[in-house]
């Protein structure tokens, strides 16, 4: 990590370090959503800029309706920015066709209900779709990558199980495995810890940490878990009411006044010996 301390700026400081080119480059991106063309925008995202590099975990934090999911959808290419640029490995996102995009970016979100039962193995093989042609049947190479993806999330033993028989944590791992089978450069996760107990949450973020460190993934996570984000992410993007307030190291973003104001709750922030901040809910005494 070569991030200069520059806590006051909303521009990502790492853009100026001149090291390896960023994997993800987001420059002055804005977005507005209106019900019709003429009506006033119901929701907008103000100019947001940051870079994300290989091996990094970046957490996107903010209260509900702050624009976290909108930012993630912009990064996934589901919606197009009103202005600004999003580049992945130097190529503008909007210029990638659907399949190429799916080879670079994988999105993990809460899975919709499966209509017909599917085995874990078949589900993970779906991640190989961007590499196939019409009707192509899976090759040995696809099996290899799907098998590796399952192994990376520690779900080898689940391959023959039915998707609808898995527990919440197991299912989350399998969904992650499908995303890894895409061999993406950028891994996006939308509130991945939502349905997990505390053990499951810690296990998941440790796994993400390991994946980012060992496999060159750039991981971006939308989450409500302030302390997990502080502990495991390299950088934090803090959003509030459609504005990007801060981008920086956890210790830079986790300022007591700022967090109290954004989350509208009595919070204390302490910095632990490892340099990572911790948020504590102040009691009513």
């Amino acid at each position: 990590m070569s991030v200069a301390a520059n806590p006051g700026s909303v521009t990502d400081p790492s853009t100026t370090t001149g090291a390896a080119p960023p994997r993800l480059h987001v420059e002055q991106v804005t977005y507005a959503y209106a019900a019709t063309d003429r009506s006033a925008p119901r929701f907008s995202l103000g100019a947001t800029s940051f870079d994300a590099h290989r091996h990094e975990i970046v957490a996107i934090l903010g209260p509900n309706a702050s624009g976290k999911s909108t930012l993630l959808r912009l990064l996934a290419g589901m919606i197009r920015p009103l202005s600004g640029r999003i580049e992945i490995d130097g190529v503008e996102l909007g210029r990638l066709d659907l399949r190429t995009r799916a080879q670079r970016i994988a999105l993990v979100q809460q899975e919709s209900e499966l209509l017909f039962p599917l085995r874990v193995w078949e589900f993970v093989l779906q991640g190989r779709y961007p590499y196939g042609r019409r009707l192509r049947f899976e090759s040995d190479e696809d099996s290899l990558f799907a098998g590796n993806a399952l192994a990376q999330v520690g779900a080898d033993a689940l391959r023959e199980r039915w998707m609808n028989e898995l527990s919440g944590g197991e299912k989350q791992r399998v969904i992650l495995a499908r995303a890894l089978a895409q061999q993406p450069a950028l891994l996006l996760l939308d509130e991945p810890t939502q349905h997990l107990d505390i053990g499951g949450k810690v296990e998941l973020v440790r796994r993400l940490r390991k994946l980012a460190s060992e496999h060159r993934y750039t991981v971006m996570v939308v989450t409500h878990e302030l302390n997990l984000a502080a502990e495991y992410s390299d950088r934090i993007i803090l959003l509030d009411q459609g504005k990007c307030l801060r981008v920086g190291l956890p210790v830079e973003v986790y300022q007591r006044d700022l967090l109290e104001q954004v989350f509208d709750a009595p919070l204390d922030v302490e910095v632990r010996p490892n340099g990572r901040p911790r948020v504590i809910l102040r009691g009513s005494e």
Binding site: F137, E138, S143, R159
Partner: protein
């Protein structure tokens, strides 16, 4: 790299082209047996030897060796009807499998979007306006189906794209409106036309081709069938992903909008084709894909071809029974598929519930 195959999970069978071909060959064999049995059965019984002799001699270009009555029964009566049954079975089952994925609804069948009601309205209008004109009823039925497909398409869009839930509601509304119009028009029909119409609403394979050029007629029908069913088959791996969720499919690189449009148009075309030549034969398009799911799994790369062949087998068998169980009277094949289909459907549904 010998280790690659070892990485495949044990117990999980990968779907390979060979496996698809093998299962299809098996079903083709079953279909062949069903066709031979269907050729044998009827008021004029034929032995397997007679059938083989008739077919082989004609194929070898020596039809004069075959007794005239054999030729009449095989080529004039039974074979065209079997061919029509195969056409309708393939079209309805493929369309049914397509609609189940498109609408993300296991209970979808080819008629759920009102295509058959549109076709029926066309048919009844042709009976009123131009009765006894050869080909008019088929043409009018197809025009009715095409008009319904178009209207439901525009009603079923949301934000410029086909939306499964909106499409389903639009289709159901269109179907019930058209049925009401049909009921009204049926009161104006005379006795004989009314009976013909009732047969047609139930589904019936007995109407002869509307032209003397039987070969050309079937060539045309099977040509359209091949285009529609082929296009649906080409989207099979996309449909697998769309069934897991449209957004997920989009992220994995599927052009969901285009796939849905192709499947909607082709499945509707196949339904319109089937309904214009045979009326609304029920249950095939709903049941056959489900039976194939139970037998061979949910992968559309296998489901589409097996449903097509399964539909052909089901109709050939059902029509043979319809011709023979209460001979010399004939039942409409749609009555047969409903009598057999409803209990099978209830059985499948209860199995799911458990």
């Amino acid at each position: 790299m010998p280790t690659l195959t070892a990485l495949r999970p044990r117990g999980v069978r990968m779907l390979t082209p060979g496996r698809v071909a093998g299962i299809c060959a098996l079903l083709c064999g079953v279909l062949f047996v069903a066709v031979v049995i269907s050729l044998r059965m009827g008021a004029f019984p034929l032995s397997v030897r007679d059938i083989v002799f008739t077919l082989a001699s004609s194929a070898l270009g020596r039809p004069e060796q075959v007794p005239a009555e054999f030729r009449l029964v095989v080529f004039g009566l039974r074979l065209p009807r079997i061919a029509l049954g195969i056409l309708v079975g393939v079209a309805l089952s493929t369309a049914g499998a397509g609609f189940q994925a498109l609408l993300r609804n296991p209970l979808a069948d080819p008629y759920v979007l009102g295509v058959s009601s549109g076709a029926a309205l066309g048919a009844i209008l042709s009976l009123i306006i131009a009765p006894h004109t050869p080909g008019a009823i088929q043409l009018a039925a197809f025009a009715g189906a095409a008009a319904t497909i178009t209207v439901v398409y525009f009603l079923g869009r949301r934000g410029g794209q086909l939306d499964s839930a909106t499409l389903l509601l639009a289709g159901i509304a269109a179907a019930s409106f058209l049925s009401a119009v049909i009921m009204f028009l049926m009161t104006t029909l005379s006795g004989r036309d009314l009976r013909g119409m009732a047969f047609w609403l139930m589904g019936d394979l007995s109407s002869p081709p509307p032209t003397q050029n039987v070969r050309g007629w079937f060539g045309f029908l099977f040509g359209v069938l091949a285009v529609g069913a082929g296009a649906i088959y080409l989207t099979a791996s996309d449909l697998n992903l769309i069934l897991t969720g449209e957004k997920e499919a989009q992220h994995l690189g599927v052009n969901v909008h285009r796939v849905k449009l192709v499947v909607y148009l082709c499945a509707s075309l196949l339904t319109g084709l089937a309904v214009s030549v045979s009326g609304a034969i029920g249950y095939i398009g709903l049941l056959v894909p489900h039976v194939m799911r139970m037998l061979f799994g949910n992968d559309y790369r296998l489901l589409v071809p097996t449903s097509a062949l399964g539909g052909a087998i089901a109709i050939v068998v059902a029509d043979t029974l319809a011709r023979t169980v209460v001979a010399p009277t004939e039942l409409p094949v749609g009555a047969m598929t409903a009598i057999a289909g409803a209990p099978v459907f209830i059985y499948l549904m209860r199995r799911r519930v458990r």
